[in-house]
Symmetry: D2
Subunit: 342 residues, 4 copies
């Protein structure tokens, strides 16, 4: 049964495995002191077009979120997030476990706006409440939407004006940046946010996220935080080799583009067939609404998550594509729903 | 320049890489729900000869230590460790960062005894001090020594009598169990300790530690703790495939044996040459004492850590061997120190 | 200007000060080992009619909440609270600072129901989310409402069925129990909740809350938690003497009854005048709705908090009465609003 | 039986109780917004002779230590303390519970020197270990010794040079400053340390410590930390009234001087009789060495702590005097040991 459950169902892009094999017996220093990690960092900086950032390679999204946020906040400071934000709903209280409250805001599309942020600031006037200090956004969001450049500029200005840090969870940044609706350049991000990451796990790596620290004040001692939270891999080379491969040319973006194309194809065909969607998503996660009967049928041939009940007879499901998604399976899925939208 | 700096200078044993390549495009569930992880757990249980344990695969030693210890202790409870213990000296306060004090005990050989533990209990009589609750030991220890079975039995009884958990850090358990001086069977460990782990990172894996929970009370909800601390890899298969390969036959033990043989050869030759040692180590780390002049010379040909000053003219260095250590380089090292012991 | 801002504007009931003076030079052991604390605990148990509870005296509400909740929860466990709950809104993230998420539920009257709790449990099915473990309620609530006995019985059964702890914040328990609408006996509480406290600070003491642990499993080592969080006062007698005085007869309840009578008088007169209220409160906090013009006028004569905007022209204010509220000032307030309800 | 167990056996100095009684019914704002707290802060600043400090009133020593240290340190930063330091031995891991390691140093007299600090810095070179950031000292120390001004100047310079914060626990600062051997002026302290506190609980108050923040960078948002840790008393006036009374003239210093005189008298008489001491203490705690037989006898007439075994036949005891110590009881104690030094 073919799975559209997520973008981490397979291993790594073959070029990455090849690189692991080829470098395997070269002796290197541990904990990221290896040549591969150093080269990967250099390549990432070149892609960003910015040498003033610090780059650290970590293992996964929750780990990256919790280390960065806890490193940057003082004990009384809190993060603001959409109520759909990964840190609020899907990380087992990882941020709170480091001592920090997340102030959740309901949004219609998973994206935070200046108005959301300002409302939270108004609601937290004094020392009887936490002090909002960091704004957490995801791009693409957990429901597939992406930030337009102008939206990000507005949010960034609001954060600067109010002395808030802006953190962009980029677990699926590849898909966001390669979306047809995207107008945000990778090189523009460091001036707009204080910290972000480029997700590898969900775009072709075995594991790995590249965290980019864009402000001087956030850089100091960051490796201490990584070590303290168990994120400094003895064989840091494992991460370095992977990111070196992803960024030594445009592999990272080619993989994301393939994922998006597969999602777009699904999207277009479903629309053509008359299905509606929970959200309009231009990235690699789409949320079509099917009758429960159709869902039952589809489950015999494909694996996917049921996202939420829409009404008694219908539910939204989540279809996720990746660098590894086979076009033939997309075609098969479309075949399976043809003429079933009535 | 050949490195004896540590046992994580190379990548993984080739069979592991081969397995990653072969399984790469098989779709699997995330977060350890894959067939490889399930199979690895089954194989590890078979090697232990015990089906009543729970096995979890994690990424590294510090991560494993901090998740397990923080999962098991209440806020006022503390760990007891040798002052050479990895958690006390070399993990950037990872345990304290989860809220728990480590009570350090000076030892002569890196090993805790019942007398050490009882002294700590006597020194902590009431609620004005932390309550000692967990005894942390490493096998092999950070200075290369190993626990004899009888020592472990005594320590285990002391812990049981005093309602203390016994935790064995097995980052180098392979080397300990394959040591010529070892009389402890893997299968005996679950009855002697409450929790331990089988280190992969330092014995042939790219990354990975297999944590073994031996008591019912420690098993509940453990995956919540893994997720909360950022240790539940989306592609959990990466760990599963590696441990499946290491334990589908005796690869894990063959790799450790090779490391030990290389260390033993170094050890024997150095002894024969008249050098003395900081500690008597039967495992894959040895600590010979050289004149500073000789150290300087050796540093032009080999990489290693200077461990500590012995007197103004001499220092102990640390030589670490691994599954990947080449015998020819061991021979070269021995050549380089021949006749230099005067 | 007379203040209806809160119930902690004055010092202590004169009998408490008198007791402090009379016992002042008696030498006693520190940290609650004094005769007064022991006697106070005995008296409180008598009032509860239950000798199987443990009683601890602490300094304030936030301190009590954070120590108890962090003592009872494991790292991955969370508290459920109404979104108006004190721990969620007004304690500067004190609970999160101990590592635990609070799952907030919107309610119409500040009270949690079995349906609220069950919905939260449904929304938290696995290890990717926190595990709900403790239900936090306040009686009286932060908006003046109280729990009827039957409501508490239902909630208690839901908690027991789902293995959840039920925690009652009793900062204003005196006012709740002495309310005319109350049908809950103090003696019934230990069978319904797992832990609660009897607030002293807001009912006549200088400072002090009496925490009641009603389950064996929660009692162990509790003083360690108090000490660790800085709550074990060297002169524990300060708390003991106060609670001894409050509970050696019915002083505690007489003070709460006076507060309620003053609130009721305000309530009745405001109703008679035709004013409406944000919530129907039978305790010592009431929330009448006034025109902004009237509020401005009243502010020249009385101090109080503006609670929230109701519409552009009207706001709800909070009036709080206490053991020390003077009836003459209540009368003066009523005079000031007479005929102003149009 | 008269107690020399500690300096918190009685209530408060009568003038403090009198002030509580006289101000009791004046309505004031909560949480330190009252006139008494404001006046107390002003008076303390006048005594210090420095208006550039921030003063906060807290309830006790452990609370003050944990709030200040956790407010100032980032997650990977650690405190350095003497192994006799109160935070290391006697606060149930309160500092570690906020996430920070304490690096303990053995000293001969309970005092840290520049050499101690520099050794710790040398031992913590990189991100695999915590980063030492704060030096914790007590004055007077837990074993009765005090810092000479020149010692403090040296330590302060070492801290500044190495970018370390210097924190002085002043639970018994009154006794230190009023010691005959003291040459440190209260007014000199803010230029030498970054933060210190003036202990009230052990010098005549019911409860209360006045924390003095001497550096701009430490002042921001401090009340958030107090609130979050449960230290912002609703009736903050309780602390304000007490410190106002202690510092409106020289009461604080008169009380400490009395305690010291009583200790000195004991000290002199014991010396004259030929007894020796564990440490030479010029403050209100002394540690004479008695035969175990004599100790047994004395325990029938006086209460005190046995500090530690000196040899099989002798132990050191701790005698503590306070503002409330009666000279007649000192005389009685001296009588009881006369001629018993053989």
């Amino acid at each position: 049964m073919y799975s559209f459950k997520n973008d981490y169902s397979e291993g790594a892009h073959p070029r990455i495995l090849q690189a692991l094999v080829e470098t395997n017996l070269i002796q290197e220093d541990g904990y990221g002191g290896d040549q591969f990690t150093q080269k990967a960092i250099e390549l990432i900086k070149q892609h960003i077009g910015n040498d003033d950032v610090d780059v650290h390679l970590l293992s996964g999204g929750t780990q990256t979120n919790l280390i960065a946020i806890s490193a940057f906040l003082k004990p009384h400071e809190a993060a603001i997030a959409a109520s759909t934000g990964h840190i609020f709903t899907h990380e087992t209280g990882a941020i709170e476990a480091t001592g920090h409250k997340i102030i959740a805001v309901d949004t219609k599309d998973g994206k935070l706006t200046p108005a959301h942020v300002e409302q939270v600031l108004n609601d937290h006037p004094d020392e009887h409440m936490v002090k909002p200090k960091l704004v957490y956004i995801s791009n693409s969001t957990e429901i597939g939407t992406i930030y337009q450049k102008e939206e990000l500029i507005q949010l960034s200005e609001t954060c600067k004006k109010n002395n808030l840090l802006l953190f962009m969870d980029g677990a699926r940044l590849g898909s966001a940046l390669c979306s047809k609706e995207n107008d945000l350049e990778l090189s523009a991000i460091p001036s707009l946010v204080d910290v972000f990451y480029i997700g590898g796990t969900k775009n072709g790596a075995l594991l790995g996220e590249a965290l980019i620290l864009c402000r001087e004040a956030l850089k100091e001692d960051f490796r201490y935080h990584m070590k303290q939270k168990g994120a400094l891999l003895a064989k840091g080379r494992v991460l370095g080799i992977q990111f070196q491969e992803l960024f030594k040319d445009n592999l990272y973006f080619e993989l994301a583009s393939h994922a998006n194309e597969m999602a777009e194809k699904l999207n277009n065909e479903l629309k053509k067939e008359g299905f509606s969607f929970l959200t309009a998503s231009p990235s690699n996660q789409i949320f079509p609404i099917f009758s429960n009967a159709l869902i039952k049928e589809l489950q015999t041939k494909f694996a996917f998550h049921i996202w939420e009940e829409v009404d008694k007879e219908h539910s939204a499901i989540r279809l996720v594509t990746s660098w590894a998604t086979k076009e033939s399976e997309v075609v098969a899925f479309v075949e399976a729903i043809k003429g079933r939208a009535l």
